[in-house]
């Protein structure tokens, strides 16, 4: 997936989430029954959007990381909207490995 598409989809997800948990998006789901895992429907609805956001951010990070590792300036935060980036003087070699890769998705 391209960086632009990944960022757009992430933005769309959080845009939808904002609508889904406020007026008017929450209105149709503002009820108690059916209980989901014992929770009132509206509470489970909001919790599901939160759980989904972990998945979306995790997938976004995989795409962003691929671009960062390839040295693409669009994925380099120190580059900013203008110009080219610099290296990170504080980053150590040991930090590049990603020990959380396996667990981050499993937390959901």
């Amino acid at each position: 997936m391209s960086l632009r598409l990944a960022r757009t989809l992430t933005g769309v997800y959080f845009g939808l989430m904002l609508v889904a948990v406020t007026w008017p998006g929450l209105v149709p789901f503002s009820r108690v029954q059916p209980l989901i895992l014992g929770l009132p429907f509206s509470m489970a609805w909001i919790a599901a959007w939160i759980a989904g956001s972990v998945v979306v951010l995790f997938l976004l990070d995989r795409v962003e990381k691929r671009y960062r590792d390839a040295g693409d300036p669009r994925a380099d935060p120190s580059a900013g909207p203008l110009g080219t980036g610099r290296s990170h003087p504080h980053r150590r070699a040991t930090d590049v490995t990603d020990p959380m890769d396996g667990t981050a998705g499993g937390t959901v």
Binding site: W23, L39, I50, A51
Partner: protein, 485 residues
């Protein structure tokens, strides 16, 4: 031995342990302003995760959240909804801010904003607004600590004494070691709070109602209006959709604008650590579920606590749990209050001295550090006085503070992403937004659609920022390039 004596012994042991961890950690950080404020930029993922989680979840979530679930029902879901929304943009903003911090040596939010928009007045304005927003936030943490201690000691240790002892300890370790202590004590307290919350959140509904689903079925049968968003007001009338929605919006916009959270971008060891913290952050939101379950378990329970904010300790005590569990719970709730309180005290002093006073008075590093320590004491004392007000609601204290804090979002976004923004534009927007929010906070009956005053403030703030920026000369290309390039 009486139960409250056992509980007091457990709490004391816990407080001593916290203090020890805080003091030991402090010896490792360097004796400079950068060391005090940003912990030498050396936090790893585990510490970052719990620092962020534990500083976000505080007496507000641990006591105020159940208090709302108990008294205002589904209105409490707003607290559940905003966190993930507010944190997500930091996936990009965080590393951008960190890169600028490393390049220009920023340690506070105002330094970054005034790096782009050079103005002493702007810096002082941000420092002042931060301090105004911090006081109610610190107040709620202190009151929370006092509530827990008063409740579990059966009134033998009243709020004034409990909050004094708990925050005496917080102030000692904040004064002696700064951000490093904040980090290590939060890791310890963060783990503690998560375990206790899940255990009790699953235990209470089972013990009292025979299950979570059964509990909600009974509440729905007896009080059907309680479980349906937007929930109820403090007096039991239906809450408005306008208020429910804008409470979510204002908290999402304001969440990462809190100086103590924003400063995490400067303390992170590297960008990947920060990104992973953002990704894992919503898992902390889910931790609110068991905490709400504890509040809901009180709805049909015979007997009422002295105020809704007391519901959590009240429920724990009414179920006649062994003293050891009560003591451990109390330590968990205290840790929620103290781990946020220390970050708040530390940040309020850093911001006020670095961005306010130091802009006008030339100071040596040593003097500056002394002044910060003095300010920690003064802010603590002020909040302590407010914390004694018996009529305050923990959730509303924070919700009001968000009206001011969310006004920092437009300047931050403009500094990072809008080349055409100008210093007069940013100052005018901030003044107009904060003044509007303050006006509607004072006259709530004039608020359109019962909207949160912070959102009305933003509706004025953003057009003013854009309008005045476009009406004033653009910034020098080389300056913008230096900041964004």
């Amino acid at each position: 031995m009486e139960q409250w004596v056992v509980v007091t012994i457990i709490i004391s042991a816990y407080l001593v342990l916290t203090l020890t961890i805080g003091m030991l950690a402090g010896r490792k950080s360097t004796d400079s302003v950068a060391g005090y404020v940003a912990a030498d930029r050396s936090f790893g993922l585990l510490v970052m995760y719990f620092v962020t989680g534990a500083s976000v979840f505080s007496a507000f979530a641990f006591l105020g959240g159940p208090g709302w679930a108990y008294s205002r029902g589904a209105a409490a879901f707003y607290i559940l909804a905003y966190g993930a929304l507010g944190m997500a943009p930091f996936y990009w903003i965080g590393p951008r801010v960190a890169a600028l911090g490393r390049r220009h040596g920023y340690v506070t939010q105002a330094q970054m904003i005034t790096g782009r928009f050079p103005s002493k007045r702007l810096s002082a304005l941000i420092a002042l607004l931060s301090l105004i927003a911090f006081v109610p936030y610190i107040t709620l943490q202190m009151r929370g600590a006092g509530i827990v201690i008063e409740a579990v000691t059966d009134g033998n240790v009243p709020i004034w004494l409990g909050s004094l002892v708990a925050y005496g300890i917080v102030i000692i370790y904040v004064l002696s070691s700064g951000a490093m202590a904040v980090g290590w004590t939060n890791t310890f307290q963060g783990v503690f709070m998560v375990v206790i919350a899940w255990t009790l959140g699953l235990y209470l509904p089972n013990r009292l109602y025979g299950g979570i689903g059964e509990m909600f079925r009974q509440i729905d049968a007896a009080r059907p209006e309680h479980l349906v968003p937007p929930g109820l007001t403090a007096t039991g009338d239906p809450w408005t959709w306008g208020a429910f929605s804008t409470f979510i919006l204002v908290s999402a916009v304001g969440l990462m604008m809190w100086p103590h959270l924003f400063m995490k971008a400067f303390t992170a060891k590297d960008d990947d650590t920060m990104r992973r913290t953002v990704i894992l952050f919503p898992t902390f939101q889910l931790f609110l579920i068991p905490v709400f379950l504890i509040g809901f378990s009180g709805v049909l329970f015979a007997g009422t606590p002295q105020a809704p904010d007391f519901i959590l300790p009240f429920m724990i005590l009414e179920t006649e749990l062994p003293a050891i569990v009560v003591g451990l719970f109390c330590a968990g709730a205290l840790s929620a209050s103290m781990s946020t309180g220390d970050a708040l005290l530390h940040a309020s002093a850093s911001v006020f001295v670095e961005d306010g006073v130091a802009k006008y008075v030339d100071m040596e590093e040593r003097t500056q550090r002394r002044l910060m320590q003095l300010l920690v004491l003064l802010t603590g004392a002020t909040a302590y006085v407010f914390a004694q007000d018996p009529d305050s609601s923990l959730v509303l204290l924070l919700a009001s503070a968000y009206g001011i804090i969310c006004q920092f979002a437009p300047p931050v976004v403009a500094a990072l992403y809008w080349k055409r923004a100008t210093t007069p534009g940013v100052i005018a927007g901030l003044v107009a937004g904060a003044a509007t929010a303050f006006f509607f906070w004072q006259t709530p009956e004039l608020k359109p659609f019962d909207m949160h005053e912070g959102i009305i403030g933003l509706l004025v703030h953003v057009p003013v920022l854009i309008g005045v920026s476009l009406a004033t000369p653009a910034q020098d290309e080389a300056h913008v390039q230096k900041f964004m390039g």
